[in-house]
């Protein structure tokens, strides 16, 4: 037995020296939302901490700090808090439009270096102040959860393209593609709305896409689209839910560049205000929709060209088609590129009545 003498010795050492920093769930402040606003020349940072009441309702407490460096903001907030503020369960990070237009790379650096921040954190640009959004009260599951689920449900079943921290970083670092972020607006003290899409050029926001253009944008960047669209023609209004869509880019010509974009949409008619649906009626709606998609998508692509941004990723696409691709030349040729949008719409379901 003599050779086992080290076991109690080891246990003792471990007990004495082994302790590492604990983060017991009820002894830390778990941040669910971080907001960065601009106030004058300084940043105004706010960290939203859910406060769990014994009756199972959740309230929010907001730490704020002012400073010129983002890291400094966190440090200041920490100083006012009785418990350590941790970011491992972060849900959303909001930037006000001024900050976003000035660029957010240093904020990204904070995220990249801290391994405790997940890749599924949602970033968004806010119309107004991020702090104001945090101060609202949305539902009883906490504001962080509400905002995250708002964005998630909108890209799962709505017109928002897939977006989170990873997607943003992916697009940001991808050559020939520019990132986008959802654009939020508080419409009521207890309601936040997705008002559109903030389009970035590098790290800066240069344009904001309106909410009604989202459907067409998503058609061009995302496969599993479950968005919805309202179609108006002389026979009345129809509401189409798109079940499935695919996009396909092709290079038609290289000098100057000419791309063809083919969009295939399988839709489902859920509402029709006109007379009863006749056989030709569906065909007509399909045609009308194709026309609308072509027009809007082309308009979008041209708008991006004008702003010298590329959220669709045309640059990345042409890079994958070309050996030894030169991005410097591409910047110029992008301006001269032209597009050909083709849409194929098929309405596969009309509901239970005809």
């Amino acid at each position: 037995m003599k050779k086992y003498f080290f076991i109690p010795l080891l246990l003792f050492t471990v007990l004495l020296a082994g302790c590492i920093n604990k983060k017991i769930i009820d002894d830390v402040n778990i941040t669910t939302g971080i907001g960065i606003d601009k106030e004058g020349e300084q940043y105004l940072g706010s960290a939203m901490i859910p406060v769990y009441n014994p009756d199972k309702s959740i309230e929010n407490f907001i730490f704020t700090a002012k400073g010129t460096v983002v890291r400094d903001l966190m440090f200041q907030m920490q100083q006012t808090s009785s418990q350590p503020i941790v970011g491992g369960s972060l849900d959303v990070t909001l930037f006000d439009e001024t900050v976003a237009r000035e660029g957010i790379p240093h904020v990204l650096d904070v995220f990249l270096r801290d391994p405790s921040v997940g890749a599924r954190v949602h970033l968004a640009v806010v119309d107004g102040k991020a702090k104001d959004i945090f101060e609202g009260k949305y539902g009883d599951r906490g504001n962080g959860r509400y905002l995250a689920e708002l964005i998630e449900s909108n890209y799962k079943t709505g017109n928002l393209p897939l977006t989170n921290l990873h997607q943003f970083l992916h697009d940001y670092y991808q050559k020939g593609k520019d990132p986008v972020l959802p654009y939020l607006r508080q419409t009521r003290p207890d309601l936040v709305n997705i008002a559109g899409l903030a389009l970035f050029k590098g790290e800066k926001v240069v344009d904001v896409l309106d909410e009604n253009k989202l459907f067409y944008f998503k058609l061009m960047v995302d496969y599993y689209s479950e968005g919805a669209l309202k179609i108006k023609d002389e026979h009345g209004e129809s509401f189409i839910k798109s079940i499935h869509s695919t996009y396909n880019f092709k290079v038609k010509n290289r000098n100057p560049y000419k791309f063809s974009v083919t969009l295939e949409v399988d839709g489902m008619l859920t509402e029709h205000t006109g007379k009863s649906l006749e056989k030709g009626e569906i065909k007509r709606i399909e045609k009308q929709m194709e026309k609308q998609i072509k027009k809007e998508c082309l308009a979008l692509l041209e708008r991006f060209q004008e702003n010298k941004i590329d959220p669709v990723g045309i640059g990345h696409f042409i890079k994958t088609q070309t050996r030894n691709f030169d991005f410097k030349k591409w910047e110029e040729s992008y301006q001269n590129a032209s597009f050909d949008v083709d849409a194929k719409v098929k309405i596969v379901e009309v509901g239970v009545i005809e």
Binding site: K23, S89, S116
Partner: protein, 500 residues
């Protein structure tokens, strides 16, 4: 085996002690009886010596005395021939006296030749009758369980295996208790090396007292310092017979209602005999459930401690609020909270086991409900943890083998300690130690983790799963039996074609 008897113990070796001296020693006991009788035919006097408490009066009065007194018997030789009893033998060895008397024999001596003794077996059998199994109870199947009598136990096994190949070797173990131990195996099936190992280990035992088969488990196990039992004990004769038929050995100990089986594997400890009585699909499913339950039972509290102490990031957002709310008022760190509850559960179990059945049940229910609710309300423990602990206690009861369920109770404490130290990382390291320990274990020289490692696909048919009987045509590989085939596989597999 013979070696064993040659090595007689030192204090017995005071050979050739006089009959008188032995008598003097034995006389001190109150139940010593020595009576003189006279044969009516030839007027010879003879003496009966026996220990009253060990001898059945009826045998002495009805079967032994009438012929001894009424018939013409003049010497111990004639006693052996004329008495209508089978268990008689004659000896001149004085050293036998003590041994035989204390095993319920009646000693007959004739006064004219006091150096010759006849020993007549008249042992009294006091013991309970066969009852239904309590620990390994099953709804279907035989309702017989072993009792404390070796003869009765072997009888139950022999009844089920009426073949001459079933060998029962006897050992006497214990300087004081002289416990009869019987090694059973089927000759021509069981691996000789395994038999040799057991024979050697049994004959090498040097202990004064053996009261139960569990003593033997601890003494002859390959690794005595392991919390894991390496020999299976069972109270069901049917299970023993099934194991013998597989090619294992069984050890029956006089005075113990549990029979040992070896060599065993880890997975066997999570098999109940009922698995063989049920359809194979149900049985396999139940086995998997049990394995899951065991893992759950060991791991859940350590995981709770690890996650709540270190890894709040892991918790899903919706669960996070539940957990935080439940822990809000708890003044202790998670490890103390968990230890407090675990120890409470252990106390309840221990108290329940020590008290009479009826009271024990009440204690369990009252203790569980009242203590649990009260400690949550008092803010000493969180209700989420209480649910986990209760579930893990419940899960640990699914282990069919009692010894193993004790092991499982103990195992979670090192895990808890490591979880407190390094969170999930600590749990992994504790798991590494557990795994290594299991890999190093052997049962009678055979690897304990088989068939998982060494990896033997063919032995999975009756380990983690229980495949249908027609797929069990071969004996387990790890037993290295001399006759690997149990029955003809072809016959079992043959199926009729459609419409034949």
């Amino acid at each position: 085996m013979n070696n064993f008897f040659k090595k007689k113990k030192r204090w017995l070796q005071k050979s050739e002690r006089s009959v008188e001296k032995q008598e003097q020693e034995i006389k001190k006991s109150l139940d010593y009886s020595k009576t003189h009788f006279i044969n009516q035919k030839n007027n010879k006097t003879f003496t009966l010596t026996f220990i009253q408490t060990l001898v059945d009066d009826k045998i002495v009065n009805n079967n032994m005395l009438p012929p001894l007194i009424e018939e013409e018997i003049a010497s111990v030789k004639e006693v052996e021939k004329r008495l209508p009893m089978s268990d008689i033998f004659v000896s001149k060895d004085k050293n036998e006296i003590e041994n035989k008397l204390f095993h319920g024999y009646v000693m007959v001596t004739f006064d004219d030749s006091p150096e010759e003794f006849a020993f007549i077996g008249a042992a009294k059998n006091i013991g309970r009758s066969v009852t239904s199994p309590e620990i390994e109870f099953s709804v279907v199947g035989p309702k017989e369980a072993f009792i404390e009598s070796l003869d009765q136990n072997i009888n139950m096994i022999r009844k089920r295996l009426p073949i001459k190949e079933l060998i029962a070797e006897e050992f006497k173990i214990g300087e004081l208790t002289k416990t009869k131990v019987c090694l059973l195996y089927i000759d021509g099936v069981t691996n000789k090396q395994i038999i040799n190992t057991v024979q050697q280990r049994l004959s090498e035992i040097d202990k004064d007292e053996i009261s139960d088969s569990s003593y033997l488990t601890q003494i002859i196990s390959d690794n005595g310092n392991s919390p894991f039992p390496q020999l299976l004990d069972s109270e069901r004769p049917d299970r023993i017979v099934a194991s013998l038929a597989e090619g294992k050995i069984a050890i029956v100990v006089d005075g113990s209602p549990h029979v040992l089986i070896g060599p065993t594997q880890l997975t066997e400890f999570f098999n109940s005999f009922e698995d063989y009585l049920l359809n194979w699909i149900l049985a396999s499913f139940i086995r998997l459930i049990r394995l899951f339950a065991v893992t759950f039972s060991i791991m859940i509290t350590p995981i709770y401690v690890a996650v709540v102490t270190y890894h709040y990031e892991l918790i899903p957002k919706d669960l996070l609020s539940t957990l935080i709310i439940s822990r809000r008022v708890i003044p202790f760190p998670p490890i103390l909270e968990a230890l407090f509850l675990e120890v409470t559960i252990e106390l309840l179990r221990e108290a329940g086991a020590r008290l009479p059945t009826k009271v024990g049940q009440t204690i369990g229910i009252v203790g569980g409900i009242v203590l649990g609710t009260a400690s949550v309300e008092a803010g000493l423990t969180s209700n989420v943890l209480l649910i986990f602990i209760a579930l893990s206690a419940l899960a640990s009861f699914t282990t069919p083998v009692y010894q193993m369920s004790n092991t499982i109770r103990i195992l979670r404490f090192p895990f808890l300690f490591m979880a407190e130290l390094w969170g999930l990382l600590g749990i992994t390291i504790a798991f590494g130690f557990l795994l290594t320990h299991l890999l190093r274990l052997t049962s009678l020289g055979q690897p304990f983790m088989e068939p998982i490692f060494p990896f033997r696909v063919k032995d999975y048919k009756d380990a983690l799963f229980r495949f249908p009987f027609n797929m069990q045509a071969k004996r387990p590989i790890f037993l290295r039996t001399e006759k690997p085939q149990r029955f003809s596989e072809e016959k079992a597999k043959k199926k009729k074609d459609i419409d034949e």
